[in-house]
Amino acid sequence: MASKGLRILVPVKRVIDYAIKPRINKAQTGVETAGVKHSLNPFDELSIEEAVRLRERKGPLKVDSILALSAGGPKCADTLRTAMAMGADKAFHVEVPEGSGDGGPEPLTIAKLLHSVVEKEDINLVLLGKQAIDGDQGQTGQMLAGLLGWPQTTQASKVEIKDEAGTVEITHEVDGGVETLRTKLPLVITTDLRLNEPRYASLPNIMKAKKKPLEKKTLADFGVEDTRRLKTLKVTEPPPRTGGGKVEDVDGLVSKLKELGAL
């Protein structure tokens, strides 16, 4: 390892804003993305925030660098600027042409890409959102850990670096309780909602982010191809809910329930 500090990779995705009601496109191949507000995937926001907080805690391991990465169309640059305004030091924009509603590269492609980035950039900690809120696939982190042969802890709600040797304790929520795990760097962590509350980028930091390096890359730079193993056949909206009725009194309720065969 070149230096002892943390060299963190934070992959981020540009997705339709969480507050927007998605609509299916006309061809029924995916969600309509044209002219819809996009923002940084909320789970990735948590990863960036955690990386920045690790730096602010100043120890026991110092943060040497925080690299943000996004793969997608030209607008991903905005997302990366947001990541840098929050505190990432530099960013890679891996340009992948946007297809119409095809959802972008598959998780395995991204995991292979990240694998190569980790090796080239000498990364020792990868912080990923546990899932992107568009595809909800939740696979990339796990696949990456597999490819790297690194330990992984998923859906972290607390991350603590314990010593200079790189011992890390991670807490995550499981059925019926909270589980605490201990492992060592290098490591893949995926983030869950309760990990932290992401900050808003301050105006001075937004201005500074404009001057931080944003490098354009291609999948080929990392020896990866955008292979598709899955084909989306059809995407449809859930059936509309039918409204309920209102009954006048208890007798009405009973007779209604009888009528429906519930009594």
Binding site: A19, K21, K37, L203, G243, K246
Partner: protein, 443 residues
């Protein structure tokens, strides 16, 4: 689900039943509405967003995020209780937004009035209204002349503290008998051994109750003794310290923006140090003139935000409110006034951001009066468009438009501010008549 949504939800169900039974005839009752299930926000903004710069869009998004922490209920409550929105000021200060248009060397962001206007518009449009804008307005704009003409000491002590929110500032120009006629202002700063002694009265001083600084315009040479009417006024950056002798503040009860205080300020031999003078003595009017066009742009932006906010509420309501078996927005009598208000807002928006751009990019090649005309026209058009939108929004809501809960009555009360201040509609018409049409001056 919020309380209001929940009520609407219940009533929308009630509607399905009451249509088969006796219809509800109470004029101002909870209204039956049709509501799209689970939609949380509009897919796109009402305002056309093309044509804005990347910086403006960045500002808009970042400010919207902060404002989203201050819902309409926060502003309703502040308005009712006449309580200063100090959390809102602190939130913006914390992230450096008060320094948006101040130079980077002083800890600001070095952006222009185009971006500051977008910030003010985003604030009013978020539901904060004029109250939200006025809580920070002077800190953004009255600091401009200070940053440009202040001494090193003033810059190093005052500006960083205003940007980080420790100090708030107010702007003291208007006087009871000297509204638009700034050159005749009477507050006198007389030279003493170690500074000046200020006597006189100011009025409509926003935020004076919570401010610790005031950018004050006062006369240092009596009007009778000056060569040119534009001379003899000086600009000061003074402490607002009520424990100090000779200063009194009185709150003015007002129509709108009640969260933010507006005051009469009385000076009676109030001592200020020589170091509080900004720029040269007797040159205050020229210094202040510099910031006036910028202020017009900010006010225009604030008006626009209010107008779009009202229109958004109105169109939403017109879509949901069902009378005689269909949404009221299906009636042209309801729809057309709103469509007309939209076009007026869009036109005013173009005029506003054109004026701001002109102000920012002026390298001396644009005559001063062209910028003045652009900025004044923008303020006029935006204020009128906002008034139209707010009034029609209330009317489209019918009885509910009169209820605090629906916000549009608050917008209507507040949208009178940009119509009146910082310069009346009539004075703008006078200015355009004289400067553009070259008609003889009427006053």
């Amino acid at each position: 689900m919020s309380r209001i949504q929940w009520q609407r939800f219940l009533w929308s169900h009630r509607a399905t039943i009451s249509s088969r039974q006796s219809p509800c005839r109470t004029p101002i009752a909870r209204v039956p509405t049709v509501r799209a299930a689970f939609s949380t926000s509009a897919r796109r903004e009402l305002m056309e967003m093309t044509g804005f710069s990347d910086e403006q869009l960045t500002v808009r998004e970042a400010i919207s995020n902060i404002c989203s922490k201050f819902p309409n209920t926060y502003w309703q409550e502040r308005d009712q209780q006449e309580k200063d929105p100090k959390e809102f000021h602190a939130a913006l200060a914390k992230d450096g937004w008060l320094g948006i248009a101040l130079p980077e060397s002083l800890g600001g962001a070095g952006l222009g009035i185009s971006e500051a206007t977008m910030m003010m518009q985003t604030i009013t449009q978020s539901g904060a209204g004029m109250a939200g804008a006025q809580a920070i307005h002077a800190n953004v704009y009255a600091t401009q002349p200070l940053a440009k003409f202040g001494t090193q000491e003033q810059l190093e002590t005052t500006i960083p503290n205003i940007i980080n929110g420790t100090w708030r500032t107010c702007f003291g120009v208007t006087e009871p008998n000297t509204g638009l006629d700034t050159l005749r202002l009477k507050t006198l700063a007389t030279k003493t051994a170690d500074g000046y002694s200020v006597s006189g009265q100011k009025i409509w001083i926003t935020c004076a109750q919570v401010a610790s600084k005031m950018i004050l315009l006062a006369r240092t040479t009596p009007l009778e003794e000056v060569q040119k009417a534009t001379e003899g006024l000086s600009l000061f950056c003074i402490d607002i310290d009520r424990s100090h002798r000779g200063l009194d503040l009185r709150k003015i009860k007002k129509m709108g923006g009640r969260a933010v205080d507006a005051n009469e300020v009385f000076f009676d031999h109030y001592d200020i140090p020589t170091a509080s003078l900004i720029g040269q003595e007797n040159q205050g009017f020229k210094i202040i003139l510099h910031g006036m066009n910028a202020e017009r742009c900010l006010l225009a932006g604030e008006a626009l935000g209010l107008g779009y906010a009202a229109l958004e509420k109105a169109s939403q309501y017109a879509k949901e409110r069902v009378v005689f078996g269909r949404p009221i927005g299906q009636n042209q009598g309801v729809a057309h006034p709103l469509a007309d208000a939209y076009m007026k807002l869009e036109a005013a928006k173009l005029a506003t951001y054109h004026a701001a751009r002109l102000y920012d990019t002026n390298d001396g090649s644009v005559p001063f009066h062209s910028i003045g005309v652009a900025c004044n026209s923008a303020k006029y058009l935006a204020a009128e468009a906002a008034f139209t939108a707010c009034e029609r929004a209330v009317l489209a809501h019918g009885g509910m438009g009169y209820a605090m809960e629906y916000d549009v009555e608050r917008y209507l009360r507040e949208c009178l501010v940009p119509r009146i201040a910082p310069v009346s509609r009539e004075m703008i018409l006078n200015y355009v008549s004289e400067k553009v049409l070259e008609l003889p001056r009427s006053y």
